[in-house]
């Protein structure tokens, strides 16, 4: 993984001391709230319902064991013993005292971490495929390019005060696990016919109150043009993006109002000016960054195949976990392990400090010291020998982290919702917990198969409900919570925005409604291999509307 150089160390340490001074001046009254608020946001500090919240950047979701232990320490020393992994591959702590946050940031800096650009109208943490560098279907590792973008975008003077926040995601495989088409810029790393590396470039995707699927404006951008082309997009956006209305300020609105063709023309014109400037990436620089992400030396561990077969035969629970939570690795003797942060009836994305330490220990002992955070709010061990899977599993069981539900109906994404968030209109977590409990039986989950439920507590869509196979949006109606159901969303290479199915449901009725949707699917699927999403795309919303509302009049109400 990337290691800080002297410049990085000095820069991050400088920012910690700068923020310490700002906090001291705020607490002494020298700085008023209006002056301080933008400064704290630049350092990842929000004010939520109950307390401040500190959002820490995890660049492209990659962590070492040492860094994970530090997050455990932050949780224990400055918070209430836990943290919340987010849909942007970051972590949030919900209870830090403002007066102690500079100390927490200093601790983080000691392991090359910070909270910069996790808020504000700047380029946010660049996200990537959580299986990067390990996936069998990968063309190239997206993380070196994500790191190049991170370095370029960090306190970039031209792009620190954009019309609105800006999110970039990179994937290196045809199968999109980074939801690139619902990002401001989505980069799909690929090889052209000549074998050269480059990107398909998507622009103007996003969720929130106006969900949009990104438009592809380039089929193949050579890798050396990454920064010049991205700069061209940013300049067009910075110049023409709306600043008069925050709800219309994201680039997706500009793309929509300008038209992808015209926007592409403007970007290409800007790019022509920038193409052969200092923004052109020298091969040596790409190679230098790529070297940090060189694949680990993976020794042949062929004994794992026989071991695995035996262990699976002896322990059905282990077999179920392997089937659901272990994916094929580039190296045939290895697997990629998903550590579910979705225990049945639990809080999606939460982990205690003890659990973080357990994951750090396991990563160090069995996974070459690498951990990832997925945008689906799980943790990943990208390189585990099949021969070590049993030991990893035992360690995870002991830590309460061995739920075998990756990709199943209980692997629910949920934003913090009204239990924490100052923007929320309704709670997300208790809804996720009730659905998880209702469908928690392993046999039932297996029967239902792949099904992604995503829950947001407000229209900002941090819980990605627009791209949930089943999405739930919490709203406030007449002072009470109400949940609107969308169906048919998807955040993969065939991205689609879910359709609102009809009137919303009260909290005590929403799990029943989900059950009706699921039972309807089970009744109409062609065979068990037809997933919920495939079935929905085949039959459309009507059978689900009929099942939920009985007649068309009710559905329209």
């Amino acid at each position: 993984m990337y290691r800080y150089d002297e410049f990085d160390h000095a820069f991050v340490a400088g920012r910690v001391e700068q923020f310490r001074d700002q906090v001291e001046r705020r607490l002494s009254g020298e700085l008023a709230e209006d002056a301080f608020k933008p400064l704290r946001l630049m350092n990842g500090v929000y004010l939520q319902l109950h307390a401040y919240m500190l959002r820490i950047a995890i660049p492209y979701g990659t962590l070492s064991a040492r860094q994970m232990r530090m997050l455990a320490h932050i949780g224990r020393k400055y918070d209430r013993g836990y943290g919340h992994f987010t849909t942007r591959q970051n972590i949030q702590f919900n209870w830090p005292k403002l007066s102690e946050i500079p100390d927490a940031l200093a601790d983080l800096a000691s392991v090359e971490m910070h909270a910069l650009q996790t808020s504000g109208n700047c380029i946010r943490n660049v996200t990537a495929d959580h299986f990067a560098g390990a996936a069998a279907d990968e063309v190239a590792d997206p993380r070196p390019y994500a790191e190049i973008l991170r370095q370029w975008s960090s306190v970039h003077p031209e792009f620190s005060f954009l019309p609105r926040k800006f999110k970039i995601a990179v994937t290196g495989a045809e199968r999109d696990r980074a939801a690139i088409q619902v990002h401001d810029i989505g980069l799909h790393l690929k090889k052209n016919d000549a074998g050269a590396i480059g990107f398909a470039v998507y622009v103007g995707g996003g969720q929130g109150r106006t969900p949009m699927v990104a438009k592809k404006i380039r089929d193949f951008l050579p890798e050396q043009d990454l920064l010049s082309y991205t700069t061209a997009i940013m300049r067009v956006y910075n110049l023409h993006g709306r600043r008069d209305n925050k709800y219309k300020a994201r680039i997706k609105i500009l793309v929509h109002e300008t038209g992808a063709e015209e926007l592409s023309r403007q970007v290409e014109a800007e790019f022509a000016e920038l193409k052969n400037t200092e923004l052109k990436l020298p091969e040596a620089d790409i190679a230098a960054i790529s070297a940090y992400f060189a694949p680990p030396e993976l020794a042949a561990r062929a004994e794992g195949w026989a071991n695995l077969a035996e262990w699976k035969k002896a322990d059905p629970a282990f077999a179920a976990w392997v089937r659901q939570n272990v994916q094929p690795h580039k190296h045939p003797d290895y697997g990629m392990v998903t550590i579910s942060l979705k225990p049945i009836g639990g809080i999606p994305g939460d982990a205690t400090s003890e659990q973080m330490e357990a994951v750090a220990d396991i990563a160090e002992d069995y996974a070459l010291d690498e951990i990832r955070v997925s945008h689906e709010q799980n943790l990943i061990l990208p390189h585990v020998a099949l021969a070590d899977l049993e030991a990893v599993y035992r360690g995870l069981v002991a830590a309460g982290l061995a739920t075998a539900n990756a990709g199943l109906i209980t692997d629910i994404i949920a934003c913090p919702g009204l239990d924490y968030c100052a923007l929320a209109n309704a709670r997300s977590i208790p809804v996720a917990q009730e659905i998880s409990t209702r469908f928690g039986a392993p046999e039932r989950q297996a029967e239902i198969g792949e099904l992604k439920i995503k829950i947001s507590g407000c229209i900002n869509a941090c819980g990605h409900h627009h791209v949930g196979h089943i999405g739930l949006l919490g709203v406030e109606k007449k002072g009470a919570e109400l949940y609107q159901i969308t169906l048919g969303g998807s955040g993969d290479e065939n991205t689609s925005i879910g359709e609102i199915i009809g009137r919303g449901f009260e909290p005590e009725k929403v799990t029943d409604a989900i059950e009706v949707v699921v039972d309807t699917y089970l009744g109409l699927r062609l065979d068990p291999s037809e997933t919920f999403l495939a079935a929905y795309r085949r039959v459309g919303p009507q059978p689900f509307k009929d099942a939920l509302y009985g007649d068309k009049t009710a559905a329209a109400a």
């Binding site: 705020r26 607490l27 009254g29 008023a32 709230e33 004010l47 939520q48 319902l49 109950h50 307390a51 401040y52 209430r80 013993g81 836990y82 919900n94 005292k97 403002l98 007066s99 809080i347 939460d350 205690t352 003890e354 009204l418 239990d419 924490y420 100052a422 929320a424 309704a426 709670r427 977590i429 208790p430 917990q433 406030e476 002072g479 009470a480 919570e481």
Partner: protein
């Protein structure tokens, strides 16, 4: 007019607080001073503005409450959750909403 209380978040640690009858920022909603007429509400608003200007609290708001069997209950769910804490058992050992929902004697 609905009964009203003054709430905010304490500057130093962000914890939710309510203004009590002694003029202190108290962590318990049940200890809050309840304004039942316009003059009292005006006084709350003035106190809130001053406390914000004095850098004691942030995010100051007057919110509607009702009193049921001697227990104060905010009308909005958002404010009930602010008063009672997250409605979920968020970390090992946390007792959950019911423990903190009880009025303080």
């Amino acid at each position: 007019m609905a009964d009203k209380v003054l709430t905010a978040n304490r500057l130093s640690d962000g914890i939710s607080v309510w203004l009590d009858a002694a003029g202190n920022w108290n962590e318990q909603l049940q200890d809050a001073f309840v304004a039942r007429h316009k003059e009292a509400v005006d006084a709350l608003e003035a106190t809130g503005k001053q406390a914000f200007a004095d850098n004691k609290v942030v995010d100051v708001n007057v919110v509607d409450v009702e009193e049921v069997d001697g227990v104060l209950r905010p009308l909005r769910m958002r404010e009930r959750i602010r008063a009672e804490g997250p409605s979920i058992a968020y970390a090992a050992g946390y007792a959950g909403l019911t423990a903190t929902a009880q009025p303080v004697a």
